[in-house]
């Protein structure tokens, strides 16, 4: 990166922290700190909801996925608009009118305290550990890209976010999210435009799409009814609906954003804003990944996208064998370029077939290099997340590369800030204020809220710093998270859809739901997108049966 790029990145970091601190001034009570005084407008909350959801790894991961696998991941978001409407009709009015701080607080009013404690605890465990991954995953990529050490990247990204979240709470989170989302949108359009402009003369946008389509990268609507195939139209529409209902309806990191709206109307509009924009935004991100794929037909791609691993390969692999693989890779790339140009000219099925063969040959040459690095590292190698960042630093014009790296920082920090704020809220409201000191006064509560934010921030950094060693443990925890979000959705379904549901039904239904999802995940090959639906429907059904056997106690007059 050039000096200009470094300057752009430095200016972004300084300005965003200063702006976050400035925007978050004036907190006097925990209502201000956790819910921004319930004064926010729909567009600010809507952008914050969007920014919290789009993490850095979503940004660099999905472009990489579009490069290697195509755009079919887009279907995951197909259920989102429907989920937003359902939430506006069901959970949002209940949360908003109950004047709660956390989604789980509502469950105590509807059922009992142990259901609230269990759901909030599940959120804290899952989100608390995944916040470390939110920090670690982009830091890993950026450290390789920028030539920094991993701890330095983690501490810079985590530390700068913690500063403004501790000071300003949710107000800082929302206003910095607005700025970060604007930067992210600008970055997406910029990358798309640059990738398009860098196609060689004679290759137009239509040709690029024809090439992408010939390799199956534009295939989005897979109508296979299989439950084991990832990213089919049905898994996107049905399982994606449950996934989005669970995430936006039961995850405090999202619920807290829209509870900050100045009215129910504002909260609803913030979600509907996402319903309009999310699918087009994700489409554009994936299409940029596809354009980068076409771009590398006409420019030499690296043998491995992770430059640290490439350097290791060059140091440790047998030189003759590596030279042969490199030569084969370069030949395959040259052949693919010729085949692509032919196909772009003629659009005949014969040339399409030749082009596909050339593409497969290039993939084969890369797989040989992958096998070599796997033999050296004794672990599986996947560099999908490095594709887009590698393109940014190698081919984006001066200044713009720094800006797009700032976009990756923005995506990571916006997710991290929302998660830290929501973790502090659940710890404070669902635990500290109930079990430690129920009436501590505004100043004390504000101080404890800030300490909890600092504590969770420190914990996130600690997990991120240890993530390399905790690798498989983190994967287990993330998998564990997918076991219970759908089940928690089932509990909320019982709470708002039927007056007959009892506390016993909700509590034991939740446990049975989680056990069922675990069994499905362990003993079947069903794709993980379906887990939320399995959990939610099981909890709802079991909860109804148990509620009939153990009906709610009649209300005292």
């Amino acid at each position: 990166m050039s000096t200009l790029d470094w300057s752009v990145l430095a200016v972004y970091l300084v300005v965003i922290v200063a702006f976050g601190v400035w925007a978050g001034r004036g907190n006097k009570r925990i209502d201000d700190f956790f819910l921004a005084g319930r004064q926010m407008r729909w567009w600010a909350v809507g952008l914050s909801v969007m920014a919290t959801q789009i993490s850095a790894i979503t940004f660099v991961g999905t472009t990489g996925q579009a490069y290697t696998d195509g755009m079919r991941f887009l279907v995951v978001y197909f259920g989102l608009p429907f989920a937003m409407v359902i939430l506006c009709l069901t959970l949002v009015p209940f949360f908003y009118r109950a004047r709660v701080f956390t989604a789980y607080e509502y469950l105590e009013r509807r059922f009992d305290s142990r259901t609230r404690t269990l759901t909030s605890l599940l959120f804290l465990v899952s989100r608390g550990l995944s916040v470390g991954v939110t920090l670690y995953a982009p830091s890993l990529v950026l450290a390789v890209l920028l030539g920094w050490s991993e701890p330095a990247t983690i501490l810079l990204m985590g530390g700068s976010t913690i500063v403004y979240v501790i000071y300003g709470g949710n107000k800082s989170v929302i206003w910095t999210d607005v700025v970060q989302m604007a930067i992210i949108w600008f970055g997406i359009f910029l990358c798309f435009g640059v990738a398009l402009a860098q196609l060689p003369e004679g290759i137009h946008f239509q040709d690029a799409l024809a090439l992408a389509k010939a390799t199956g990268r534009l295939r989005i609507m897979d109508t296979s009814p299989s439950l084991t195939t990832p990213y089919t139209l049905w898994s996107g529409l049905i399982a994606g609906l449950f996934l989005m209902l669970s995430y936006f309806g039961c995850d405090q990191s999202q619920v807290q954003r829209y509870l900050s709206g100045s009215s129910l109307t504002q909260s609803r509009l913030s979600l509907l804003f996402n319903a309009f924009l999310k699918v087009p935004m994700q489409f554009l991100i994936l299409l940029t990944g596809v354009l980068v794929f076409v771009f590398y037909h006409f420019h030499p791609p690296p043998l491995l996208w992770n430059r640290v691993e490439m350097a290791r390969l060059e140091r440790q692999a047998p030189p003759e064998e590596l030279a042969q693989v490199k030569a084969r890779f370069e030949r395959a790339h040259a052949m693919r370029r010729i085949a692509a140009e032919h196909y772009a000219d003629t659009r005949t099925e014969v040339d399409a077939q030749l082009y596909r063969q050339a593409n497969t040959a290039l993939d084969g040459a890369r797989r040989e290099a992958t096998r070599m690095i796997e033999a050296i590292d004794h672990t599986a190698y996947n560099d999908t997340n490095y594709i887009f960042p590698s393109y940014i630093v190698s081919y984006l014009p001066r200044g713009l590369a720094g800006l797009v790296i700032a976009v990756i920082f923005a995506a990571a920090m916006s997710t991290l800030s929302g998660e830290l704020n929501s973790l502090a809220t659940a710890s404070m409201v669902d635990f500290y204020k109930r079990f430690v000191r129920p009436a501590g006064g505004d100043a004390h509560e504000l101080l404890v809220s800030r300490l909890l934010t600092a504590g969770w921030g420190g914990f996130a950094c600690l997990i991120a710093l240890q993530a390399g060693r905790l690798g498989s443990a983190i994967e287990v925890v993330n998998r564990f998270g997918s076991y219970f979000y759908g089940s928690i959705l089932g509990v909320f379904g019982l709470a708002v859809l039927t007056p007959r549901a009892s506390a016993i039904g909700a509590f034991w239904g939740l446990l049975v739901g989680m056990a069922t999802v675990w069994a499905v995940a362990t003993f079947t090959a069903v794709h993980f997108l379906w887990y939320n639906m399995v959990g939610a429907l099981t909890v709802f059904a079991v909860g109804l049966v148990l509620s009939r056997a153990f009906p709610p106690a009649p209300a005292t007059p």
Binding site: M71, L74, F78, P81, F82, M84, V85, C88, L89, P93, F94, Y96, R97, A98, R110, Q206, D207, L209, A210, K213, L218, R219, I220, M221, S263, L264, T265, R268, L269, L272, A275, F276, V279, P280, F283, A495, V496, L497, T498, P499, A501
Partner: protein
């Protein structure tokens, strides 16, 4: 349906922007989502 959330006066007074009523805005979101999906299906299957 379960226990109904109470409407507060401020909820009822606040104007629903652009579409006037909630059913209309929900319908607009769903129609828009379907149109986007149809456009994506066309994009995916188009003969470039």
């Amino acid at each position: 349906m379960g226990p109904k959330p109470r409407n507060t006066p401020s909820d009822e007074q606040e104007r629903v922007p652009l579409f006037g009523t909630w059913p209309r805005i929900y319908a607009a979101v769903l129609v828009c989502a379907l149109v986007v999906m149809i456009l994506i299906a066309l994009f995916s299957s188009w003969n470039y």
